[in-house]
């Protein structure tokens, strides 16, 4: 059982380590979003308000009417229920308030008659029944009035449709509503009528009337506790802004922002201070330090703000202000992007390029915030001093003062009682521990394995995986272990299209080390649990072969046990008239594996240089083999692991960027070796037919070399042949001038339409 668990745990670890990332440029899904880590849990500063997230988003708002509507509707229903002593289910009230006008009309009819005749559905609704039983005429009339206002003040659900604003009808409703208002007994209903009338006036574009209604109606209402006051205030602020009373409008919007969940975002977006003078005037309108602090909080919440000065002001005015902690969290999140693991984040350059992080003045911002947080932590005036001490430690960590951070964490560990804060502390300490790893040894690796396998925080906070992978990759690279560094991010498949010697050699050395650590064993084991060494030797062989070292390649292949050398796949020694990459080979064909091909090539070279009577034949076969092993031949897969049909074009060093492969995809476009053998055929062959064939292959190699060169320009019309410069036409012309009498020439002139064009 134990070995099974061991294997399972190794496979799990390998799977974790081998999960691929999007990594590179090139054709594919490129993700330009910021890529970093975050360990600060914003839940710590959430106040329970559904709009807390509004503060914690960065340079971005909800823009969601649906959310604002749902918050408004929920609080409205709660208030209706409170007015009726919480007698009903919220859904019962909702059915009437936000239901159809027909429901309310039915209630009205039933309440007017002595014998109540509500329909079956409505008679089961407690709220409807209550309105009928107690003949709540004022409420029913109000609900009908509100329904008649609705079409004039709600958004047209069809964004393309005409906005149905009929100011004459709206004014008529205002007059009718005011007439009713004057006769009302209920202050709650008076308030709601006032809201409907002010809103109608504002939507009708008569802002003076809206302000006049506010001034006339509100004094006639005895104070009641209601969310509707803030809704009215928001409309008054809007009307003031429209008539140019910007300062008072801004002040009222700040009150709405502070008090109303459903209007918070709208108030924030409408809040506008245009000058220092307006700011000062707005501050003078404030009735309390809390209101002044709210103005600072709104300014500090702007996109791209530098909020520390405003946070200091809030702290001085109203140290227990909720917004202070929200702003702290928002600022820490920004500083995490600037400083957390930036030394080893492998997307550091992309983040610099696309997100301009670290920000130019991030260090100054960090120092400024840290000083403020230390002061707040010491003075103990805020709502949650322990949160500020925790933030102090984390900010010191982000400042790279790891010792001071550790000291703060140790100090507060004894005093923290809140479970969430204790968890946050543990997260910070784990981040610190990982950051402290340097010159990673076997003991460190063993610890890391334990963290990955057993630490609950590692599982709970997804950022830990990326953080550990990037940190270890960075450290391994510093220590000269390019292979281990590579494996922290990629599976072996990612290197096959363009193998890198330093990575492959490092991994082979580790794989062959009989005393390798458990961690090294994980890094050199395939996902299916088999050892990686044979794959690594195969990759090394292919890499050496491609770089022109066939003897060294054969040596690498031969280190793989015979049984593991792979199946026979290829026969590059046969001739095909047509270039065919994916043609099916006949079953009878003799096929080779990679080392067998090399052995046959060495054999042919030996024969070509010793058996002079047949040299031309052997050179011809060698030319064919090297052509067929190239990108353009059917045996390309012997010298390469990955081929893209889209790479029939130029790329520097034949390396094509690819979104998944970190070193790109190197294609074997080089036909110089094939050409050198076909040229030797021309030198030694006495057979005119063979020479004609070799000349044709040379012409074909030149054509392919040209169309994959940097100077090639594709014809505008895909049906046109590329225009071939004279230096690439030599062999076409030679075939026509020197071999016109051969059977091959006669065949080729018949089969290849393009031959004539280039031969001319």
């Amino acid at each position: 059982m134990a070995p099974l668990i061991k294997i399972a745990s190794i496979v799990l670890m390998i799977t974790i380590i081998s999960l691929p990332y999007q990594i590179s440029k090139g054709c594919g899904p490129i993700d330009y979003s910021f890529k970093g880590y975050s360990f600060f849990d914003t839940d710590l500063v959430k106040t329970g308000s559904p709009f807390t997230d509004f503060f914690l988003r960065f340079d971005d708002f909800y823009h969601s009417y649906e959310l604002a509507d749902s918050v408004r509707n929920t609080s409205n229903l709660q208030e209706w229920n409170t007015i009726f002593c919480d007698q009903f289910y919220e859904k019962e009230i909702k059915e009437i308030i936000y239901g159809s006008v027909e429901n309310i009309e039915a209630i009205q009819r039933a309440s007017e008659k002595k014998k109540n005749k509500l329909g079956l559905r409505l008679s089961r609704n407690g709220f409807a029944k209550h309105l009928v039983d107690y003949q709540c005429t004022e409420t029913i009339d109000y609900l009908l009035f509100a329904k008649s206002c609705e079409p004039h003040v709600t958004r047209n659900p069809d964004a393309w449709g005409k906005q149905k604003r009929n100011s004459v009808a709206m004014k008529a409703l205002i007059y009718e509503g005011e007439r009713v208002f004057l006769k009302l007994k209920s202050n709650n209903l008076k308030l709601r009528y006032a809201y409907q009338l002010i809103r109608l006036a504002q939507y009708a574009g008569d802002y003076t009337m809206a302000l006049d209604l506010y001034d006339r109606l509100l004094p006639r209402i005895d104070p009641v506790e209601s969310i509707v006051y803030d809704w009215i205030l928001a409309h008054k602020a809007g009307a003031l802004a429209k008539v140019g009373e910007n300062v008072e409008a801004a002040y009222l919007f700040s009150l709405v922002f502070d008090r109303s969940d459903s209007k918070r975002e709208a108030a924030f977006q409408s809040f506008s201070i245009r000058s220092e003078k307006e700011w000062q005037q707005c501050m003078l309108l404030c009735q309390s330090d809390h209101e002044r602090a709210t103005l600072h909080a709104m300014r500090a919440s702007e996109s791209h703000s530098k909020p520390v000065a405003d946070m200091r002001a809030i702290y001085t005015l109203d140290p227990k202000n909720d917004n202070l902690e929200l702003l702290l969290a928002k600022e820490i999140k920004k500083l995490e992007k600037d400083f957390l693991g930036t030394e080893f984040n492998r997307y550091r350059k992309d983040n610099e390029k696309y997100h301009k992080t670290p920000r130019k003045e991030a260090t100054a911002n960090l120092i400024d915030l840290t000083q403020f947080v230390i002061q707040v932590g010491k003075e103990n005036n805020v709502r949650h001093p322990e949160l500020w001490r925790l933030a102090e430690g984390y900010l010191l960590y982000l400042s790279n003062d790891l010792y001071a951070a550790d000291q703060v964490f140790k100090e507060i560990e004894k005093t923290l009682t809140n479970e969430k804060l204790r968890e946050q502390l543990a997260v910070f300490r784990l981040v610190l521990k990982i950051t402290n790893y340097q010159n990673i040894d076997k003991a460190n690796e063993q610890e890391i394995v334990q963290i990955i396998k057993k630490n609950d925080l590692y599982k709970k906070y997804p950022a830990f995986k990326k953080f550990i992978d990037d940190k270890l990759a960075y450290e391994y690279l510093q220590e000269g272990h390019a292979g281990k560094a590579f494996r922290m991010h990629y599976s072996l498949e990612a290197i096959k299209p363009n193998p890198q010697a330093n990575i492959i050699n490092d991994l082979i050395a580790i794989a062959l080390d009989p005393e390798k650590s458990r961690f090294d064993k994980i890094l050199t084991t395939n996902q299916d649990g088999t050892e990686m060494v044979d794959d690594l030797l195969d990759i090394k062989g292919v890499m050496l072969w491609d770089s022109g070292e066939p003897a060294a390649a054969l040596e690498a292949f031969k280190q793989i046990p015979v049984a593991q050398r792979g199946e026979n796949h290829f026969n590059p020694f046969i001739e095909r008239a047509k270039i065919c990459i994916h043609c099916k080979q006949p079953d009878s064909l003799l096929i080779y594996n990679r080392p067998a091909i090399l052995e046959r090539i060495f054999e042919l070279e030996f024969k070509a240089n010793s058996d002079y009577s047949n040299s031309a034949l052997y050179f011809y076969q060698l030319g064919l083999a090297h052509f067929n092993l190239s990108y353009f031949g059917p045996s390309w897969n012997a010298m390469d692991y990955f081929r893209s049909g889209g790479n029939w074009r130029y790329a520097k060093s034949n390396i094509f960027l690819h979104w998944y492969f970190p070193f790109g995809n190197k294609e074997n476009h080089d036909l110089s070796k094939a050409k050198s053998y076909f040229k030797k055929v021309l030198e030694v062959s006495k057979d005119r037919e063979r020479s004609a064939r070799a000349t044709f292959w040379l012409a074909r190699c030149d054509w392919l070399t040209y169309v994959t060169s940097s100077g090639y320009q594709a014809p505008r019309n895909a049906n046109y042949l590329p225009s071939l410069p004279p230096e690439y036409r030599v062999y076409y012309q030679q075939l026509e001038s020197d071999y016109a009498e051969t059977d091959f020439y006669k065949w080729v002139i018949k089969e290849c339409k393009y031959f004539q064009a280039y031969a001319r």
Binding site: E66, W160, E276, W279, H304, A309
Partner: protein
């Protein structure tokens, strides 16, 4: 008698020759605000330039991710159609992402809605002629297929109403029509502004830079569509914070940055904020940087010459972007007329 006949004969040829000379383009403007209400100063300005046509932005269209459909935004509010020129060309800006997101089979419905919206707004402009509709979209390779399909549908529909369809063409689209494609419309407007990289602090002037335009405008260029020309007549401040461009401050002028208590300047158009303050409703922090961008008449004249050299043609409009309260101050009618005369003789 015979002599006078020959004189008339020669004169008629001279007249023919003269008529083939360059004719100055008709001056027009884009109106890109949310509210139409031309002030008397603006009306006088248009009159002094004999402006008969105004390109009026009716609304923008953007993709709404919640509704998963394109929706109109910033719809124009016609508070008064008084003093408008006799001819209006409704212009609609559509974001590129609209055409990246919209499905092929939704385009017909979208074009119907767009035309309906235009005609609804048009009801507020009872005494004007609308001979053309213009679409402004900086399409990309990936959005081209959808955009061109949309234009094809739109063109067929508005041709039935004897209206023409035009689109905006960027400089790179002029230079590489083979790569970017040619929109299936009746006319194009070559936008000769927003040519530089706005996001980079080092950019000299992102609105117009004759060195950049010269790289695109070569002698006697051809484009598959007849082209009107659009030149910039606006200014703005580009606000950078922590090295990153964060806001555009429209109509910002030199004089607003002259208080040395708040701003320092190293050269004529670059400022650094010394002390926190408000500017155009935005709160600035110390070390914020502002690049003030405007286009001088001299630069407009250089680019006008480049345009005449690159695209010699008669019968076109020269559209200035855009008409607002500062246009007549920064670009007096006499300067605009001088630019107009670069293209040819004013008839």
């Amino acid at each position: 008698m015979r002599l006078s006949f020959y004189f008339l004969f020669i004169l008629s040829f001279w007249g023919c020759k003269k008529s083939s000379d360059s004719v100055a383009p008709e001056i027009t403007f884009y109106h890109w605000k949310n509210e139409i209400h031309l002030s008397s100063a603006e009306t006088d300005y248009l009159d002094s330039l004999a402006v008969k046509t105004l390109y009026l932005r009716f609304f923008d269209v953007d993709w709404n991710p919640d509704r998963q459909e394109p929706i109109p935004i910033s719809v124009i509010n016609i508070s008064s159609s008084k003093n408008l020129p006799a001819t209006i060309i409704p212009t609609v800006f559509i974001t590129n992402r609209t055409f990246l997101k919209i499905k092929n089979n939704e385009i017909l419905n979208f074009s119907n809605k767009l035309l309906l919206k235009i005609s609804t707004i048009q009801e507020g402009l009872p005494n004007v002629q609308i001979p053309e509709i213009q679409i402004d979209c900086d399409w990309s390779g990936k959005s081209r297929e959808n955009y061109f399909l949309f234009l094809n549908i739109l063109k067929k529909k508005i041709h039935k109403e004897n209206k023409k369809l035009s689109v905006t063409i960027r400089l790179h689209q002029l230079k590489y029509p083979d790569k970017t494609g040619t929109p299936p419309v009746d006319r194009g407007v070559l936008m000769c502004y927003n040519v530089g990289d706005l996001q980079k602090w080092d950019t000299e002037n992102s609105i117009l830079d004759d060195k950049i335009t010269s790289a695109y405008l070569k002698k006697n260029m051809t484009y598959p569509l007849p082209l009107d020309l659009a030149l910039p007549a606006f200014c703005w401040g580009v606000l950078f914070r922590d090295g990153k461009m964060i806001k555009l401050l429209n109509q910002l002028e030199n004089s607003e940055l002259s208080d040395q208590k708040f701003y320092t300047t190293e050269n004529k158009n670059r400022y650094t904020v010394r002390q926190s303050t408000y500017l155009h409703g935005h709160y600035l922090y110390p070390n914020d940087q502002i690049r003030l961008e405007s286009v001088s008449s001299a630069t407009l004249k250089i680019v006008a010459k480049q345009l005449k050299y690159a695209l010699p043609s008669n019968q076109r409009s020269l559209i200035f972007y855009h008409l607002d309260s500062l246009t007549q101050v920064n670009y007096p009618a006499s300067e605009i007329k001088e630019i107009q005369r670069i293209f040819g003789e004013v008839k």
